[in-house]
Symmetry: C2
Subunit: 136 residues, 2 copies
């Protein structure tokens, strides 16, 4: 593992542990793209992605990182947690840009029932955010 991804990882773990949304925002590229578990179309842009990740961080209980893989600027971070008491296993597939910021993040999870439970919590909050953003 080259030093830069390890630095990113240390920083990323602090951000998630502290649910520090300002620091989270700072590690996202302006044009970051996020592939969320429920949908194929990607979310784009720092505002939208940061808002979604903030909701998710506060919704998944017992969020814990497990196995980690690093291959240059491509990272794979496994995690486990619970949503409404249901078990969850997931992985963050992260691409870092030349500045060490996240340019792409794909999030895959199992099982389906827990993904649907998470979507039920997250989707209304994201819809409200996007409506407000459009008005503003």
């Amino acid at each position: 593992m080259s030093p830069e991804p390890q630095l990113f990882l240390d920083h990323w773990h602090r951000i998630v542990a502290r649910r520090d949304l300002d620091a989270l925002r700072a590690v996202l590229a302006d044009d970051v793209r996020l592939g969320a578990p429920p949908y194929w179309a990607k979310l784009e842009g720092k505002d939208v992605v940061c808002h979604l990740l903030g909701i998710v961080i506060h919704t998944i209980e017992d969020f814990t990182y497990r196995r980690e893989w690093c291959n240059g600027a491509e990272l794979a971070l496994e995690f486990t947690g619970h949503v409404k008491g249901q078990d969850l296993q997931g992985i963050d597939l992260i691409t870092l840009n030349a500045e060490g910021r996240i340019s792409n993040l794909d999030v895959l999870m199992r099982p389906v029932n827990t993904v649907i439970a998470l979507r039920e919590v997250v989707a209304p909050q994201m819809a409200a955010f996007l409506a407000q953003k459009q008005q503003g």
Copy 2:
């Protein structure tokens, strides 16, 4: 990457490309466990896991491996494909045992609609296989 996982990877790619179920069976540990995308409970044992993987290999169209990560005996293999024309991104999280066989395989996929489409194809075939196995 240590030599053994690289050997496994070369072998694995040949197995999947040729849909070679005998060779697939040979790289599974007897007590292999598989965490499938739709369910939390794991499938256990070489017969059941090999049968499921055989169905999946024949169901996902345009199956293509993408990014790969290796950390000792822990591998993460991203793939893409289609099910009934719907896009699919997935990852195989593989643990190799001391003999270089797969002792655990967790499969995570997005988006939800494609996982459900896959389940609709796979579940009836697995139910028939399990019923037959129970009778036998």
